[in-house]
Symmetry: C2
Subunit: 281 residues, 2 copies
Amino acid sequence: MSFEDGADRLLVTPGSELYVKVGRIMSNERVKRPVPFAHKLNESSSIGRVIGVVSGKGGVGKSTVTALLAQQFARKGLKVGIMDADITGPSIPRIFGLKDRLKAGQYGLIPCVTSEGIKVVSMNLLLDDETEAVIYRGPVIAGAVKQFWSDVYWGDLDVLFIDMPPGTGDVPLTVYQSLPIDGVVIVSSPQQLVSMIVTKAYDMANKLHIPVLGLVENYSYYKCPDCGSEHYIFGESKADELAGTIGCKVIGRLPIDPALARLSDEGRISEADIVFDLENE
Amino acid sequence: MSFEDGADRLLVTPGSELYVKVGRIMSNERVKRPVPFAHKLNESSSIGRVIGVVSGKGGVGKSTVTALLAQQFARKGLKVGIMDADITGPSIPRIFGLKDRLKAGQYGLIPCVTSEGIKVVSMNLLLDDETEAVIYRGPVIAGAVKQFWSDVYWGDLDVLFIDMPPGTGDVPLTVYQSLPIDGVVIVSSPQQLVSMIVTKAYDMANKLHIPVLGLVENYSYYKCPDCGSEHYIFGESKADELAGTIGCKVIGRLPIDPALARLSDEGRISEADIVFDLENE
């Protein structure tokens, strides 16, 4: 990954590692959690693990973290899918530069596939124009999420990531109550305001007995490309404090990175060569 | 406003003016727009103008812009209110440092009041603990917004700002269809991904015949406090391009400002001495 204008190269140093452990997520000792209003998976598909990525508040780079996680799992040789459950504000197709539309097949809707083989389903892959508003009320939005589960021919997946919309409304409630979710990764930023709202997301997961796999702090700091000084633009890191409050582990800190923002914007996230520590614990 | 650590003083220069014109918003020639499912305002209240602040995607500083707008109007001597319609991710009380809870009075719920006399209603002012999740499905969320309109004793207001949640779901739909809204201000950031999603917010307003008063670009650039160089962290400004696409005016550009982020976090937004050009056109 290189940039002509000299923008900082994305570099995840040991101090800013994202180490969601494959071992932890993919272990065989899957805890069977009761799913109160279980919705049936597509008959021709089987999915090993289901991981939600949540944030409480929008704009913290949750979709980028989802994409990077999925990519890293795919590079380990796992069969990976992403369900973009942010029906009214979908970011995933743009991040991967997906231009095609979902097609109907014999066993259900056929996901689009990224250059690294990640299967993606998103409302924006169903629209003729990606800027068109999806003006849905909550129950219809929740219905779309259920259809993404039952009416999509996912085939065999080792792990499905669900990119959730901000807030604690219909979509997370439906995902938590109707899909066999194994746990959630929470994405936050150092702003206190964000931490307050992210605690709501944790509170919801907790009330519904969903395990929290860990906390990722994005936009941790900015390194001036001209003088090299580091700035806590959105405040000093609150990751440890927040993780303490909600009783989970900090599993990563990512800097504010114009290069990564640009890769997301231009659909070139697959060029991000971040090496996360994904080994077993 | 000053900071010990030498963080940049917030300075809105002529090139980064936010000039939502009082003349435009408060003109007497109010266009009567049909409200298909009109919900009745609290009987003991009267509200002159209703202005929505929308963003499509979260995390662009919409609530901060709402607070700054309201503050500026209040400083002009107008009677101002803010309805925080982001039921599951409310930011407004924290930004103003409001600690009290709403109380029931003879004519309805009594708003909390900021140091500058702005009346504020928010779901977080009804919770015992601000980090508690509000796990509501869409129709209940929309119902809460309606109650904020009919069951709150607003008294006489010149202008009410409605801080909307991200997305194009229940809340904006309810506000557009049930409240006599005069127009919306759209808040965006330079990231292309955000622009794509903000266009959805515009598309929704357009389909429901809601006038767009203008576009505010937040997080336009960052000025390194150490060397003074300016960086387009989230990409070059796309405000003009975006405004051209959606056919509205750019009414402001704000820099990424750690000082402003901190004032928001610490509930000290009233110390922001931004001088917006709010004169008549």
